[in-house]
Each structure stands twice: as structure tokens, then as C-alpha cells.
Symmetry: D2
Subunit: 254 residues, 4 copies
């Protein structure tokens, strides 16, 4: 089996915000990439928002099986053309897409789910004080993304999210987060759009070492394996697509 | 608009278990029924498990738009014929079904969802110490069953439930429960089976006055209005059903 | 109960394309509006694409419970700002949205479903020769939108559509179209996005008198009643939303 | 990777019904098994309804990753204990289950989907004249079960099925059947129940050589690969499951 080709997209935080620098000295993307160095079968490309085309040129996307997206404060600065091309790759070509943490407010995630809002807008997806203890409960224990986990993953500190998140009903809910401070949120959600699979996974505030945690890294690896494109049918295109006998059938009738 | 005809089915606990007697001196069913006396538009019939046919004769079911089911320790004693007839009324005729609290382990709920297990079996639906504070977060704020609620319903004490519940993916998730002790559970879930709608609502341990709480009563009323049968198409039956022109079409072709 | 306020949006075809003129001399919107004049309880506003703001000003949208959208050849000419405002009204405020015929290629429908494609692109939603006989089979006979129908609706002639449509898995599939020429398509599909409900209903090619057909008109009325906003919970907004006791709880802990 | 262990369950028709004997001289199960002999990676066990325990002893089920079920006229004669054990293996242990043709009326399929009806009962799943041409359109072209297919599979003759099938909304719809005689049916449907995946695939009337057709065999192989159990989380059981720190947390609070 061929290696799965992963592109990790990340805002480039570590040089401009001190707390991130101490937790992720080489950037959040480096920690995410390190999760895949622990096991064979993966190839990693890094793309950061400050690169030309945000590092997401057609050449890069063409060779990407799964795109992992971490973003937070610069969501609104993403180029629309890049966002739309990412969506097309997912829907049309089956590229997997993993939205981490505040990628819930990113253009590709929101466009593919058909929602558009800012954090806190409309009372629909609230973000709250940072530093709360979080437990990610496994809701779908038989799912491959939960492979190797126990009852829950405990995260000592994260930024608290809350419901209602305003997402469409997920095709499959995998994790629910419990927060010490009294909130819950659907923190692991699966969607399909066109040929592509999308996984939203909310943990990962940049001031805490969440992507160094072994269970979180396991979820990322499981998810990439699950989201890699699976093939499918070779359907034909557009008007007048019917061929051979079927086409003849039709033309006789018209 | 006609009144909605509700039947409340209940195990008859109050005469044999002291804590229930003090909270619900007239039975849990009386408290549930009282929720509907607060507004016009409802007719109530009471059925308890100790009645002949558990109070769920064909005559009663025939006149029931929505069946509310509270059960706990006697789930296994329910007559199979009655359980199956309840399922048929839902699937075939569109009777609504509300499963309260440990009705998650009742025969009708499990048969319509295609699962069968005891509490604690398979690590799939755990029940836990009683008395924890619970918050029911509204996950689907636009849904009619959530009409008139705020962000969450707080219940001072309940029996704690936990994930994974092993239910099929709900058609719509309405509430997630947060528990003081560190658990979560999908506490308000909607399913459709055949012509009928099913609502699972987990709060309601018998030692606490949960059905006296005004927000809980509001959810019950909202749910009954939402689950009452809606009509639908008049489809025909079985083999050779095609009639008139359609049938002729077919016979010419055969 | 108040009247349901409907806005019918339509491309203005009848003055520029002869076949439409003969079938719908006053415009397709007039035929759609006429469906609602047959029963009490509806108020109609007309909006056509050639009006300023396409007739969909904030004042109009503010007073719209359900927006019915018929479009075909001018989908790409729709103003992006109007398209986005329509989406926001659905997702945030619960306005219902009905996409008729080639509104499958309209901006609001595609943005809310998270897909973007032209007819025939990617082999994903094919449109085909016009004039085929079509049968809309009722797949969900207990659904209110199917109220009063029989086994199927027969349409003597329509533009043929085919699978795969590339839509996300519908929350509920109501109708499947059978076509004389050998194709099928999911022709009645329900989705929820945020607080709003969306109904896609594919019949309605402009050269055939489909919106004069009584069963089609019945489906439109049923759908409007089903999609009218239902209320729901009064959730609060954004950061720091927790109030009263909950907020205190939290602040003590931080 | 280990071989996938398949058990093929079948009514034993070929010795008692002449038309079947000529199409499937060694039984339908032999033709289904032959589909898996065409590629490596599968182990086959045969179980027929006339064997003791219908060939589905605990020892056999224990070693089954995917159970393929063909049944038709003897559905009602299946032992209830065996049916229930099959369901438990799926829901609890993640065994895959493929329901072929009239297995839509079999006990395991109906129990796991929460429906119970006979063919033709309630106007909900109609079966009709035999011998019609059928086309299975691919609705979800990116799905692994559709791998290697084109736009549709054409079956020269089959027993016609029709909607409404009364199944719960599938987690994923893969195929829709078009019938020459004017009917449609959801002919490839995916469900998850507990840890297990279920695939309903309607073609396969016993008088026509459908399981000799290469695209049908491909679907069977694709489906078995997709349904083989995937692992998942190691969640703990029942009451008092919380251990270590979590348990301590809780006991301090009680």
C-alpha cells in the first residue's frame, strides 16, 4: 500500500506570540507532523499561511490525500481562491480534510458545511475562558478513528468550547467533550461532502501542549487513515453522458 | 385542531419503594400527566404495568397519538406481545413514542432502535451513582422541542448516565447532558421509524422531583406536539398494487 | 395562527423565451403563487431577478417565513451579497428555503449544502433531454410534505435529471424520480442548516405546465407549512455568555 | 493483513424448485462463494437453513467477520435464538451483515432496523412481477463499495421491488434501482448498529443468474471489505466503571 500523502496547513504563530513559542518552538505544524513520524506509511508536506498561495498551490493539493488544517486568528485573512480550491479538491476529488480547533471558523470548513459565522456570533458557537480540564468521551467505540483509545481522553487544559455549534447534523458523532466548567461540545464530528470525508476535531488551543499528547496523536493518525480517498466508481460527465446501448435506447425514444 | 391523545405508561413504583412515595405520592405517571394539565389541547390516559395487558389494550393504543413510557426495574417483565404491538403502532400507524429515563432499557425502545442490552452490559451504556448535578445543553436551538428554553436546563440531582449509549446515530440530537462527576450523555435524541417519531429523553430518576420541574414539563409538552402523527400519503398495499393506467402500462410490457 | 409569509423568487423568463410564454404567460412565479391562493393561510410576495436587489431587500427577507426559489439559466448572475444574505436568514433566523428545479445550481442552495458545481460538471449532476415522462415515488409516506398524495405523482413531461447529484446525504429523502428514459434522481430532499429547513424539489422545467398540476401545488403548500420557522430555544450569544449562577460557578473556578 | 472470514447463509432452494436448479445447480450460496474465489484475501464458510442451528453455531459466528444472508420464502421459519444471536454479534462485536434480496424480510435485518413486516403488508414494501429489466444507479460514486463500477449496473431480469420500503433513513444510500416497469427502490443501503455495519443489497431473485454477473460479484467483494470489523476503542463495562483518578474524583464528591 502506498504512503498516505498529508499536507499540514498552519497559521505561523510561533514567532509572534510568546506562549505558543514556548509550547511549540518549531510551530504547531511541526508537532502535528511529528505525530506521523511515529509510525510508517505517511508522507508530510508543510504549508503555512505566510507562504505564497499559503503553501497550497495546485501542485501541492494535487499530491495531497489528506489536508490537516490548524487555524485560529487569521481565518478571515485566507485567500478566497485558495479556500474554494480546497473545497473543490474535497468534494470533487475526495481529498480528506481535518479541521483542528478554531478551524471551525475557517473558510473551507464553513463553506463545506454550509454555515458562516464568527466565534460568538448568533449565540451559536461560543468560545470561553482558557485553561479548563476537558474530557473527550468516546461516543462511537467501534469506529476506526477511535481505535486504541479507552473510555475517554483527558486533556489537562484547553480552550473551552460550547454548544450550540450550529453545525449540520454530523454523519457520525465520535467524541463529546466534557468541560470542568460545565459545558459540553461535539468535539469529534464526521461529514461527507461529494467524494470527500471531513473530520472536525476541536481540541488544540495553542497555549497548551495538546498535540504532544499521545492519544491526540493517535486520533490524528487514525483519522488520516480513515479519510484517505477510497476510490469509488468511475462515473461519466454531464449532458449526453449515456453511452452505448443506453444512449441508443434514449435516442430512439426522443 | 383536535386534542392530542396521550397515554402515559408507567411502572407502579410509588407503593413499594419509600423514596419514590415521598417524591411522587400519586405515582410518577401522575406528575407526568400534570405537565399536560397546565395547558389546553391534551387528553390523558394512564396505563400502569400492573394493569391487565399493562393497560395497553388495542382499544387504548387505537386512541393514542403519543405514548409516553417511563420504566426502570421491571423492563424485563413486560409482555412481549404488548411490546411488539406498541412497536407496530409506531412504525405502521405513526403513533409517537417518548422513552423517559431507563426506558432506554425497555423492550419497545430497544426493538425499534435495533439494539438489545442490559444496563452496563458490553460497556455500552453505563449508569452510575445517583445524585449528581446535571445540565442539559440545548444542541439544536431551532427545534420545536426546545421552544421556550434557554441555553440549558439545570437539574439539581439525577442518576448519572454515560456514553457510549450504543444507540444508532440519531436523526437529530437535541440535548447533551453534562454531569458534575465528569460524564456526558446524549440525553435528547430523535428517531423516525416507519411512519412514527421516537424521542428519547434521559432525565427522570424516580428519587428526585425532576418531573415537577417546569422546564422538563415544557420539554414533555413540546415533544408531544412534535410527535403527534402528521398524516402523510395514502399509499397502497402489497403485490400487484399498481392500478389503472400504471397497471396497464405494466401489463402491456410483460 | 398567523398567515405564513412566502416570497417567491424567480428568473423573469416569460418575456424572453417563447415556449415559456405560452405555458406561463404571467411568469412561472405567478403559477407558483396561484398554488397558494387555493387555500387560506398564506401571504405572497413576488421577487424577480430583474428587480433591484433581485427583489430580495432586507425589508423583504425580514418579512419572509419561507422563500421559494425558481432559477435556471441566470444562476451565475445572482449577486453574491444577496445570495449570502439569503443563506444567513436561513441558517441564523430559520427562514425556510425551497429550491425548485435548476435551483440545484443556484448559489444559495449550493452554499448551504457546501457544494459548488455547474450542471454536468464532474459527472455529478447530469441534466438530459427534455420531454421524458417522470414519476415521483413517495419514499416517506408518513411525512407531512407527502400529505394527501398517493403512491406517486406522474408528470407527463419534464427535463430529465440523473444521479449522482453530489448532494450531501439528505436528512430525509421524500421522493425519488423515475424517468421513462432509464434514469432516477432524488427529487425531494430535506436538509437542516442551523435554525432553517431546506427542501429541494426537482420537477419544474419551464417548457411544461408542471406548476399547474394539482399534486405539485399540493406538495408546495405542504412544504411551506412544514418549513415555516418553528421557534425554538432562546440561546445567548458568544463569549462570556454564562450568566447568573452559572457564571459565578465558573468565575470561582478560574 | 489477515483473510476476511465470510460466512454465506442461504436457504437451500436448489433441490426443491426447478427454476433455481437450472440457474444455480449447486445452490445460490455456491455462486456467492464463487465471487470470493476470484480474488485472494477471503475465507468462506457455508451455512444453510437446513443444517442444525441453520449452520450458525456460536463456533461459526465466533469466526465470522462478515455474514452474507440470502433468504426468501423461509424467513418466518428461522429460529429466533439464532436470529437474536446474529444481531448481538453485529451490534456488540462488530460482525458485518449483508442482506441480499428478500433478506429484507428476514428476522436479523428487520430486528436490527427496528421494523417488522411481511412483503406487501401496510403498503410499505411491495414486490412485483418478475422479469423486469433493472438498472442500479450509483448514487455515491466516491464510496468504496462502488469501487470499479461505472454509472450503473444493468441487470437484464430481476424481481421488481418498489417503494416505500419503510426502512429507517439509511446512514448512506449507495444505489437506487430503476425498473423498466415504472418503479424505483433504494437498492443499496448502509446502516450502522452498535459496532457493526449492515449493507442491504436488493438484487438477486433466484430464477435469474444475477450472482453470476461480474459487477454484482464486485459489489459483494467491495462490500465485504468495507464491512469487515475495524477495531475501535476499548471501552470498559457497566456500573462503577470509572477507575483511577476519575473514580477518586467521583467518590470524593459523593
Amino acid at each position: 500500500m502506498n504512503d498516505i500523502r498529508i499536507t499540514v496547513f498552519c497559521e505561523h504563530h510561533q514567532d509572534r506570540y510568546e506562549p505558543v513559542k514556548s509550547v511549540y518552538p518549531d510551530g504547531i505544524h511541526a508537532a502535528i507532523a511529528a505525530a506521523f513520524a511515529e509510525e510508517p506509511g505517511f508522507q508530510i508536506t508543510i504549508a503555512t499561511q505566510d507562504m505564497p498561495s499559503h503553501g497550497l498551490t495546485n501542485e501541492v493539493l494535487e499530491c495531497t490525500d489528506v489536508l490537516i488544517w490548524w487555524s485560529h486568528i487569521d481565518n478571515h485573512l485566507l485567500d478566497d481562491t485558495v479556500a474554494n480550491e480546497v473545497c473543490r479538491r474535497v468534494v470533487r476529488d475526495g481529498m480528506g480534510f481535518i479541521a483542528l480547533h478554531s478551524a471551525s471558523f475557517s473558510k473551507p470548513w464553513q463553506r463545506m458545511l454550509g454555515i458562516e459565522y464568527e466565534a460568538g456570533e448568533w449565540g451559536r458557537f461560543r468560545t470561553m475562558p482558557k485553561g479548563e480540564k476537558e474530557r473527550l468521551w468516546v461516543v462511537a467505540p467501534g469506529h476506526p478513528i477511535c481505535e486504541g483509545l479507552g473510555d475517554f481522553i483527558e486533556i489537562p487544559q484547553d480552550e473551552m468550547y460550547g454548544e450550540p455549534m450550529l453545525i449540520p447534523e454530523p454523519d457520525k458523532l465520535l467524541f463529546i467533550a466534557w468541560w470542568e466548567g460545565g459545558e459540553v461540545c461535539r468535539s469529534g464530528t464526521l461529514f461527507e461532502r461529494g467524494r470527500g470525508k471531513i473530520f472536525g476535531f476541536t481540541p488544540g488551543h495553542e497555549e497548551f501542549p495538546i498535540y504532544h499528547q499521545s492519544e491526540i496523536r493517535r486520533v490524528l493518525r487514525n483519522a488520516v487513515r480513515f479519510l484517505a480517498p477510497a476510490g469509488g466508481a468511475k462515473v461519466h460527465s454531464g449532458e449526453g453522458h449515456l453511452s452505448g446501448e443506453a444512449r441508443e435506447d434514449l435516442s430512439h425514444r426522443m
